[in-house]
Amino acid sequence: MRSRPGAADAGSRSSFSPEAPIETPTSAEPARASGADVEIRAITKRFGQVVAVDTVSFVVRGGEFFSLLGPSGCGKTTTLRVIGGFEHADAGEVLIAGRSMGQMPPNRRETNMVFQRLALFPHYTVFDNVAFGLRMKRLPEDDVHRRVGDALDLVQMPGLAARRISELSGGQQQRVALARALVNRPRVLLLDEPLSSLDLKLRLQMQEELKRLQRELGTTFVYVTHDQGEALAMSDRVAVMDGGRLLQVGPPMEIYEQPRTRFVANFIGDANLIDGIVESADGEAVTVRAGGHKVSARRQGWERSGQSVTVCVRPERVRVVAAASGGGGAGSDALRARVEDRAFSGYLVKYRLAIDGLRLHAAVPYVSGTSLHQIGEDVTASWDPQQAVTVANE
């Protein structure tokens, strides 16, 4: 598995420095006992002239909640559909439970899909919808009844089996769609933005619900979403895609703390992105010259003197102190700034700081009783270099 040609390909194709191949941490980390449930090897899918998925490789481990995250048109849904067998890759290979899928149709794969528009059968009752997969397997009707009942209990929809789909609320339809897929006990459940049509409150509730189901059943989930909050909150690991390419795979915290590219840094959470030229890179830190300023960040290892990079600083890592009190903490660069704007949001105070040629966002926890910086006030902004990170400047 280590010499997967696809993985290497994915790395070299990306536009950032070859010293930081995108190689997923998957092959480096020990796989769980259950092993890889889904393995994608360098798949490419074209629609006419458009390359929807470009040499994407990754591994989803058994029992994992794995998210494909990216803006619309990034290729995440196509990737999911290739796994499910609804599209066939022009190049590359899909393995499910170690077996190459080739041209195998969806009805013969150990996967089930929850569709974006749910695709519940409007001419069937809730029961008949959920029973569909079992009846296709010609299971005895007794078993069908028992398992459909269990599945409806599982999604907390007991007693609604006789309803028509049109008589259900959006959230209930969502649950039926889940039950209809899960009742078949798939090895891998594929979910294509299933919550996108729900309102915020219901969406958050269903997120918890999905997480609970996944924990209880131990089923592998491959979840497609464009909502980074959703992906971070639910997933064991997240794969970030853009323009058909896989940019980074890792646990949510790693993606947040160590984005590899400018796109990932920007797409996941809020980020201050400061473009500059590496002045020195030694020891733990990199010093970057940006405009007339010097900023520092944690060294990744691939930075070279004179290279153009971007420094990513999360707003909550920026310290803001009144200029009068002089400088920031030890080991950090202090930038003289002026408060341009301020927004108080309860537990956080957000500042927009103007620093000669730069703009910096800071999010400072609000401590009861302290006074806020005024708009127009001169302040000093700084951060711990270990909490800033260099990302490839695309």
Binding site: G84, F86, P105, F115, A119, L120, P122, M136, N184
Partner: protein
Amino acid sequence: MRIRGAAVVILLAPAMAAMAVLYVIPLGVYFINSFHRFLDGRILPVWTLQTYVEYFTDSFTYKVMGTTLRLSLLVTALAIVIGYPLAYALHTRVRSASVKGLLALLLFSPLLVSVVVRTYGWLILLAGTGLVNTLLRRLGVIDQPINLLFNMTGVVISLTHILLPFAIFPMYSVMSRLDLSLKEAAHDLGAGWWDTFKHVTLPLTMPGIVAGALICFTLALSAFVTPRLLGGGRVQVMPLMVYNNTVDINWPTGAVSGLVLLLMSIAAVWTLNSLLRRLPSV
């Protein structure tokens, strides 16, 4: 947007006038005539149910009615059975929108040619020495030419061809509104092609089938040109009888026959509509 009273009247007036002149008044005349009497080549303006009694006690009436129903049912069934796979193929197998448009145009092109011309076309094709018989004989399927003309067979073939577009259009339109992810979902849940068709596509396109059948059936009921030209007097259907009665100035019998035909159409519409209402909406 609300349209005020006067505007409604003005907007509806042309349609109402056309309906009145072309439909309501003739129907009224019919209705009145049905109570008159036809005797010795003259219409007697008396008020009697005698024509009705004679019409419904004549065994010939039921023979004609039977032929009409048989023809209509046969043609409707054939048009649906031939049209559905065609519509399905057009919907699923053709990807390019321009090819789809071209094929649809081709399917509907018979409508651009007059029924009379098309019927004469079939007259040539189905004749004893026509294309169909010649072909079948060359292929060794038959020894003697089979009678395709001036009987039910010829009328059914020709009328099916004429009504096919009317069957295809509603079925195709329902199919094209079908959410494709429903088929994918069935496929995903383990259904092969046949199960997907049987459990998802067919039930969900049933409204199109019913609508197509309704149009075909009512049009077949009132078909006149084809039975007249290709039936050779041996396919006696109700519109032909109405026509003959009218030509003979036997307006009362023609009126009764016409009203019965109208009631049959209404019954068909009502039956199929109530069937439609019980089907799921797509």
